[in-house]
């Protein structure tokens, strides 16, 4: 149905094979977490709120409850009495997700049984209807949206369960779950929405929840700063998203996916408009999915609680950009320049972020840059038109990166508890303070190694298959594809694709190195936490370790979803599954033929990739000496290129100097004090007033009296006239 140029019929709900099945209940999937949000939000506000006195001024400042406000929100390790409603919150928060997941599984089976080639659009109510704009609040069930929904509710459920253990002792526990449930609601609107504006509702909504959760411990200015930075940088991307929608509406008059996919060809293949639409959408993706130049918010976002990092900043929200490109495949397939840009930016981001990941000491920062890098990989996939490969990596990444983040959460949880016990204020997230944790956290240790091998691309773990699929797709499209024949900035597409392939390999090498480094420094070698603290290190409770085990299994076997084509009938499952949505667009890019490499070539490429991964790990193992590390407090300042990497190439500082400071300075000095207060108000307004006063000097003493008198006369006059009239 997505074949460009072929008009498609509107997906008529009544005639659709899914109508009348469990898919009719798709609206419940987002509504369930929303109910969770309402319940938890109430439970958060009710006990915290003490209504003020009827007359705020008369009461002075004596009324209040400052004593309760002393709880320290500033750090992970506050051991305050549990929230009075913690039991019901622990139940409601994860349960709504569990039910939503079960429902989604039901819809998945209905969809796979129906063999629906058309999306099932469930219209809920008319939303924006005016002039030529006819937008419904409608959800779309198709092969792509259901994959995303399974990931969001499934992985989301596991992370919610983990959160019960991780956050239970936080005084803001219900508030945390309220935000988390609200996030899932918006994320589901994002992936299930049937039009760009509905998607955008979710798109901005998840940004809001990200803001709220990053700044969850808001008493610490750094956390609140990080939240704000995330929101504003996302908004820069959202600006692009908006402009892309304006362009679509002005040129096509429709904004729903079915309509846009069907009519994208009207914009003309390779035309300026369709390229602009693609590039503006990609600006939105760069913001949401943390790509160059808008990636700097994501590492800062680690200020939020660790399960939030796993859910929002690894598994789901940040992949929304990848989803958007896959969802807009009909546009990108006709805009080779935009597609090449997506792939190129993705590749450069993948490598750039990986280099920074090499020198981070905060365990979460390593994972954050790793996420930026892996998102770059996904954009390479969807950029070269291998939409299924991009989505495949999105799914496996959700498994192993959620596992890595939750595992790091277990580590931090243990470290915090230990430091709290001894009253130490050392940094519980700095790897220089860890080391040798495998003895104390054996489950976490083993499971995180599974995820590490997966992300490094070691067969037969999930990451190996998905990363290889992307690299093979890039390699295959170097010839016989619209991308190879196009050019970007004067560089032929075929050359660019080769370049992207090489960068992809280089990033894979660095990934293997920094991940091995992280594991070595955290779990191997001697322990550097301190003698007293060491006694307190132990594995987290099962409510936290349990989800890790499930994710470990998924990370290991997730490759099953999409084995390479040469596996025969068990191969390419996801690829075939997504064909009704992205198949036509992918084929368009490869001139109608499946872009398969010869089996020999593919095996050679696989061998090369595996060698690179193993080489990286071996290099890291040989070069890095965990035993030589000293705790953070005793570590010397790094120098040279290490320092440059540790300070993330000083990009934040550059943005601050080049953009933030000038804008604020311009606004304050030039626009406000200069133009507004100085020229317009000072010179023109008050100046002319002064002039008038000079002219009317004689009457000056009466001036204010005159205005008053005049005013009263006017009021009385009007009253009189109105009164006289009402008598007639």
């Amino acid at each position: 149905m997505l074949l460009p140029g072929v008009p498609v019929q509107e997906a008529a709900g009544a005639a659709h094979p899914l109508a009348g099945t469990v898919a009719d209940l798709v609206w419940l999937v987002p509504v369930l977490p929303f109910i969770g949000f309402l319940v938890n939000g109430m439970l958060s506000l009710l006990p915290a709120t003490h209504m003020g006195p009827a007359d705020p001024a008369a009461a002075g400042h004596d009324h209040g409850h400052a004593g309760e406000g002393d709880a320290d929100y500033g750090h992970d390790d506050h051991h305050v009495a549990r929230h009075p409603y913690h039991r019901i919150v622990s139940l409601v928060g994860p349960a709504v997700l569990g039910i939503a997941f079960a429902l989604t599984v039901g819809i998945f089976f209905a969809l796979s049984g129906a063999h629906a080639e058309e999306p099932f659009v469930r219209t809920l109510f008319p939303w924006l209807v005016t002039g030529d704009l006819h937008l419904n609040a409608a959800l779309q069930v198709d092969q792509l949206s259901i994959v995303m929904t399974l990931v969001v509710t499934g992985v989301g459920f596991l992370i919610h369960v983990f959160s019960v253990g991780y956050m239970q002792d936080d005084p803001g526990y219900p508030r945390y779950f309220a935000y988390l449930n609200l996030f899932v609601f918006f994320m589901l609107v994002l992936v299930l929405g049937a039009s760009y504006p509905v998607l955008f509702v979710g798109w901005e909504g998840v940004g809001l929840c990200s803001y709220l959760l990053i700044g969850y411990w808001y008493s610490d200015k750094a956390n609140a700063d990080a939240g704000k930075k995330a929101f504003v940088m996302n908004r820069i991307g959202d600006f692009g998203f908006l402009v892309a929608m304006f362009l679509l509406f002005a040129n096509l008059g429709v904004l729903d996916f079915v309509g846009v996919s069907g009519r994208a060809a009207e914009l003309g293949e390779g035309s300026a408009v369709i390229t602009a639409v693609g590039l503006f959408f990609f600006l939105g993706c760069a913001g949401k999915s943390a790509q160059i130049p808008l990636y700097t918010w994501l590492p800062d976002a680690m200020a939020g609680p660790t399960p939030v990092s796993a859910l929002i900043h690894a598994a789901t929200m940040v992949t929304a950009g990848v989803y958007l490109v896959a969802r807009s495949s009909a546009i990108f397939a006709l805009a080779p320049v935009a597609s090449l840009t997506v792939a190129l930016v993705g590749a450069i981001t993948a490598l750039f972020a990986a280099t920074i990941g090499l020198k981070q000491w905060d365990i979460k920062k390593v994972l954050a840059y790793s996420t930026v890098s892996q998102l770059g990989y996904m954009f390479i996939g969807v950029g070269v038109g291998a939409y299924a490969a991009g989505v495949f990596h999105l799914v496996t990444h959700a498994f192993f990166k959620a596992l890595l983040f939750l595992g790091s959460g277990s580590v931090i949880f243990a470290m915090h508890r230990a430091y709290h016990h001894t009253g130490s204020h050392a940094d519980a997230q700095d790897m220089r303070n860890m080391g040798g944790l495998r003895k104390y956290l054996p489950w976490t240790f083993g499971l995180m190694w599974v995820a590490t091998l997966a992300i490094a691309g070691i067969p037969p773990l999930s990451g190996f298959f998905s990363k290889d699929e992307i690299l093979a797709s890039v390699f295959a499209r170097r010839s016989h594809s619209t991308l190879a024949e196009a050019s970007l900035l004067g560089i032929p597409g075929s050359v660019l694709l080769t370049f992207i392939y090489v960068i992809g390999l280089a990033a894979a090498l660095l990934t293997a190195i920094y991940m091995t480094r992280m594991m070595l420094y955290t779990f191997h070698g001697p322990n550097r936490s301190g003698d007293a603290e060491r006694q307190e290190l132990r594995e987290a409770p099962w409510v936290m370790t349990g989800p890790l085990v499930v994710l470990g299994v998924l990370s290991a076997v997730g490759g099953y979803l999409n084995f390479p084509a040469f596996f025969g009938s068990v191969g390419q499952k996801l690829h075939h599954w997504l064909e009704p949505v992205t198949g036509a667009s992918a084929l368009h890019i490869t001139h109608g033929e499946e872009a398969h490499l010869a089996v020999g070539t593919e095996l050679a490429l696989i061998g090369l990739a595996v060698l690179i991964a193993l080489g990286g790990m071996a290099y890291a193992y040989a070069r890095l000496k965990p035993a030589a590390l000293v705790p953070k407090a005793q570590s010397p300042e790094s120098t040279g290129i290490e320092r440059l990497l540790e300070h993330k190439y000083y990009v934040d500082e550059a943005y601050d100097r080049a953009i933030v400071k000038p804008v604020v300075g311009l606004s304050r000095r030039v626009l406000w004090r200069g133009l507004d207060a100085g020229v317009i108000d000072g010179l023109l307004v008050n100046g002319s007033g002064f002039l008038m006063r000079g002219l009317g000097w004689v009457g000056a003493r009466l001036q204010s009296g005159q205005v008053g008198t005049y005013a009263w006369v006017l009021v009385i006059g009007v009253l009189a006239v109105l009164g006289a009239f009402s008598l007639t």
């Binding site: 006195p53 406000g69 005016t130 002039g131 008493s219 939240g227 959202d238 908006l242 509406f249 317009i680």
Partner: protein
Amino acid sequence: MAAFLASINYNTWILPALLIIPTIGSLIVWLHGAVAGQGEAASMTARRLTLWILILEFIVSIGLWWSLDQQNAQWQAVFDKPWIEAWGTRFTVGVDGLSVMMVLLTTLLMPLAILGGWTSVRKKVHGYHSLMLILTTGMLGVFVAKDLFLFYVMWEVMLVPMYFIIGIWGGERRIYASLKFFVYTMAASLLMLVAIVYLGVAAGEPLGRPTFDYDAILALNLSPTASFWLFGAFFLAFAVKVPMFPFHTWLPDAHVEAPTAGSVILAGILLKLGTYGFLRIALPFFPGVAMYPWVRTTIIVLAVIGVIYGSLVALVQPDIKKLVAYSSVAHLGFVMLGIFALTVESVQGALMVMIGHGLSTGALFLLVGIIYERTHTRLIDDYGGIAKVVPLFATILTIVALSSIGLPGTNGFVAEFLVMIGAFRTYPILTVLSATGVILAAAYLLWALQRMIYNKLDKPANKTLPDLNWREFGLLVPILVGILWLGVYPKPVLDRMEASAQKLVEDVGRNAERQRASMMLGGR
């Protein structure tokens, strides 16, 4: 509902009733003050009396939601009586899709504004409430006037009470601010009076006496030169009111010095009278001028400057009330963009911004007033971390700020999205520029939010702040409901304005073409 309203002939009396109720109420409150004095008990009676009068006004006005025919773009519920026959002025009032939501917004916000000043207005309580009631009549009068002379009278009627409200119950620099407000708007509206008289005389020529009837003036065939100058006169009056850049500098002063209710009404309703004037008068009467390329482009450029400039200046305000005031300049810039881009979507969007801004910014001023009443400071830096002591206040402030930022799911998004998606069809580049305001809005409001309710609770005085009381909570609830309703299901509201917006766009577009064909406006 519609049948019931028809059975009581609702449409025949509702508009004069809406004007008379607060007028009589004003007299009653004033008289009560004269009789009962200024004691505490008498003051409380004045508050209660005013509140009940305005609640009655609101309840009576709600019928307009059902009693109007949505398909009909013409004046409805028209009431017409001779007034001053010698001048040809008549007391003619009516509503259509452009004004009905403004009327309802006014009747909704007024009782809330009274509740907002419940405990903060402590001197000359009777006078204050009496003026608030007169102000209600004036604002509603402007929205429903179908006779241009009546329009002008009402325009001035609402000016006077606001002058006193700022000047008597305002802050420290109230005299300067009120005088500036008065002189600024008065000077601008005097030219409008001249223009209205000219139009009345011209329209009355066939009759042998002036007529100020809207439809008669609409049918006038004015010379290009006359149109140009008349448009200029109306433009000045309305642009100051909106306020458009660079006529906006009265606004921050007036907002900052006005008491809470004054700020709420200024931002919530008074500013909309300017944009309403453009929709009702400047565009339909002078389409040839308004749609003349350089005039139209200039106005849209000023609107977009207003969006960006207002946002940037808001970013650096140390005073929260000034910040909100400058954000109004930005939001009203969106309204002007929507109006002059002249597509159905953008005009509908402009109307939605007018409603939504009334709710969001009205609520922001209420919230600022609430916290000011506790701390007596408007400086953002005097706060910090107060979410911990006033969680309910912080929650509501966050929701309202998000709607002002234009977060999807709130009124702000629906409105700005419609403006921009419609305006993009006629002015793509300027619309894209205005969209940067979306980024800046997030920057200035979230930054302010962070410095007020997040960060560390480090000011000792803030550690004992009392949270909202029931009155304050109760008066904010209707606004929150409106914010979410307009964001999620705006269709009933859009439907009620659609026919009139469509007619406006078609008429102005068609008449502009016709006039352009018959005139040469160049060289000026």
